[in-house]
């Protein structure tokens, strides 16, 4: 194998390249280059009214807008010492179910499966197994339909606000989704069975897994950040243990722990730390899969996503069946100066927000730590772990194996580009 250069990674969200330098048969340099321009969201949130924040941050990502809405509203509610009603919380979970369903179905079948089945793209996959891809699109559409029923549109839904929702969604359109969700649940169980038959490359990494954990529900919005190394960090202390640093060559910050280690967020971390909280059908799917946990192969995050799909279809069905309009859809806010942080589990991993607001509710400071920024150093470390195998492979196989590893992380490069400490010289360089 010679040096690998992938100028533009396909089937990932955003713009990035991959460079693996080889000298004398040894891998000497690995870089995941993020050249997507930074977008300065944290900068232009300053001076905005707090109710604008969920809809502005949702625009960071077209695949996980709900994650941005939920992390921001929980952070701002903390700043105002507001606690939402159980009905609001349940509807937020349902909205999140919709996002997990559309995001995971897309990633499993259209982004990662082509790699596992030796196809260059989802189009080629559709040509050989049309029914599989057709089912995948149907599974994905159900998630988008849930978002539309709650948030008015299937991408970048609106309606979520600090204190709840602007209005309760109508019951009938939600209940009308139940037959498709029931179909989706069965399709998700089949997805788990199918995921176990795929030929994953061998790679076992001793990760530090980090995910939100809650004893009574599958961790998404409530709970502490648990690490597989044993630490339990409250959201208020998140920045004491998890840091971001600027890396000269990248438009994304890189995450590391307080002692300098890398860590992994996302579906593998959630499944390994939270499998006891999966709902019964997902528990059953996990048991039948006979997996040895913790799952340590990054390529097999596809299996974790498949099991989560079962869980989120199941949870969406439960939540819709018990959904009732009860009380006001949002709280009247009493504004005051304050600071709050919030976190939630985006489909691709933990997403942390912190805001300072003044007594008029205007944002004075914003910090957003997206999952992909936290995973970037881990992806590069994985590629180093893979290097001894890569150098023995044919060039095209090595390239594909490395690219596949990056894609298996479901990186959202657009979300990750957010460094703030720009020098003028670098801005000119970025724009050039």
């Amino acid at each position: 194998m010679k040096t690998i250069e992938v100028a533009a990674l396909a089937r990932v969200e955003g713009e990035g390249g991959l460079y693996i330098g080889v000298k004398d048969g040894q891998v000497v340099e690995i870089r995941l280059d993020i050249y997507e321009p930074p977008r300065f969201f944290e900068g232009f949130l300053v001076g905005r009214y707090l109710q604008e924040v969920p809809d502005i941050t949702a625009r960071i990502c077209g695949i996980c807008p709900v994650a941005y809405q939920m992390s921001s509203v929980t952070a701002l509610e903390k700043a105002l010492d507001v606690e939402v009603s159980p009905q609001v919380y349940a509807l937020r979970r349902l909205m999140y179910c919709g996002e997990y369903i559309e995001s995971h179905a897309l990633h499993i079948y259209l982004l990662q499966a082509p790699d596992l089945l030796g196809q260059p793209s989802a189009l080629d996959l559709a040509a050989i197994v049309p029914d599989v891809v057709k089912n995948a699109l149907r599974m994905k559409k159900i998630g988008n339909d849930v978002l539309k029923a709650i948030g008015g549109r299937s991408v970048h839904p609106v309606n979520a606000c600090v204190g709840g929702f602007y209005r309760w969604p109508d019951v009938a359109p939600l209940k009308a989704l139940l037959p498709e969700l029931e179909w989706g649940l069965e399709a998700a169980k089949e997805t788990v069975r199918w995921s176990l038959t795929l030929p994953y490359p061998d790679l076992e990494i001793d990760y530090e897994f980090v995910a939100i954990h809650h004893p009574e529900e599958y961790g998404v919005m409530h709970g502490d950040a648990w690490s597989s190394k044993g630490s339990k960090t409250s959201v208020a202390d998140y920045e004491m243990r998890y840091f971001e640093e600027h890396v000269q060559r990248s438009n994304a910050l890189h995450g590391h722990t307080s002692y300098g280690g890398t860590y992994l967020v996302g579906p593998l971390a959630r499944l390994n730390l939270n499998h006891a909280q999966l709902l019964p059908a997902a528990q059953k799917a996990l048991k039948e899969a006979k997996l040895k946990l913790p799952l340590k192969n990054p390529y097999k995050s596809l299996i974790a996503r498949a099991i989560e799909l079962v869980h989120f279809y199941e949870e969406a069905i439960q939540l819709i069946k018990t959904y009732q309009l009860d009380g006001p859809s949002h709280l009247a806010l009493k504004l005051k100066a304050g600071e709050g942080c919030g976190m939630s589990e985006a489909p691709r991993g933990l997403l942390y927000h912190r805001y300072k607001i003044d007594e008029q509710g205007m944002v004075k400071f914003a910090k957003i730590v997206p999952p992909t920024a936290q995973n970037l150093p881990r992806i590069e470390a994985d590629l180093f772990a893979l290097a001894p195998k890569l150098v023995k492979m044919e060039q095209d196989v090595a390239t594909l194996t490395a690219e596949h590893l990056v894609r298996a992380y479901d990186p959202c490069i657009s979300c990750a580009t957010h460094f703030l400490k720009l020098k003028i010289k670098e801005v000119v360089h970025v724009k050039a």
Binding site: A122, A127, V155
Partner: protein, 156 residues
Amino acid sequence: MNILILGIGQSLRGDDAAGLEAVQLWQAQHPDSAAQVQVELSELPGLALLDLLEGMDAAILVDAVQSSASAGTVICLGPDELASFTPDAGSAHGWGVAETLQLGRLLVPSLANCRVTLIGIAGGQFSMGAGLSPKVRAALEKVADMVEREIQNYLK
């Protein structure tokens, strides 16, 4: 007959907004025609394009295109010409019109009954926040006329 008129483009990316603006102009000029068809505007339809086409007998997509032709040039592509496009490897956001239609042809047999036409407007610049360039803006009237002509052909 179910007819979809779909304006596509990102409103903040310079000439990419041409499809949206052309459809809005046509809609304002021909409210009677607009009332007889389904009108949609979409910044980035992606795979949802297939959902929009569901149940349609004909669809007219209006979108900015990158082309060697000078800015403001208007082209009209029928179903056969659209089928000949080779798609790039898609990103999550990268399901463009050509590749989504190709996926649709593979997966949704009923789409074969929907006649898809694309009216393309060659863009000159796609910078963030730049607005339409004068040549592209000048072409909007022509595009609106073409949309109306196509619809009248169907409604005859």
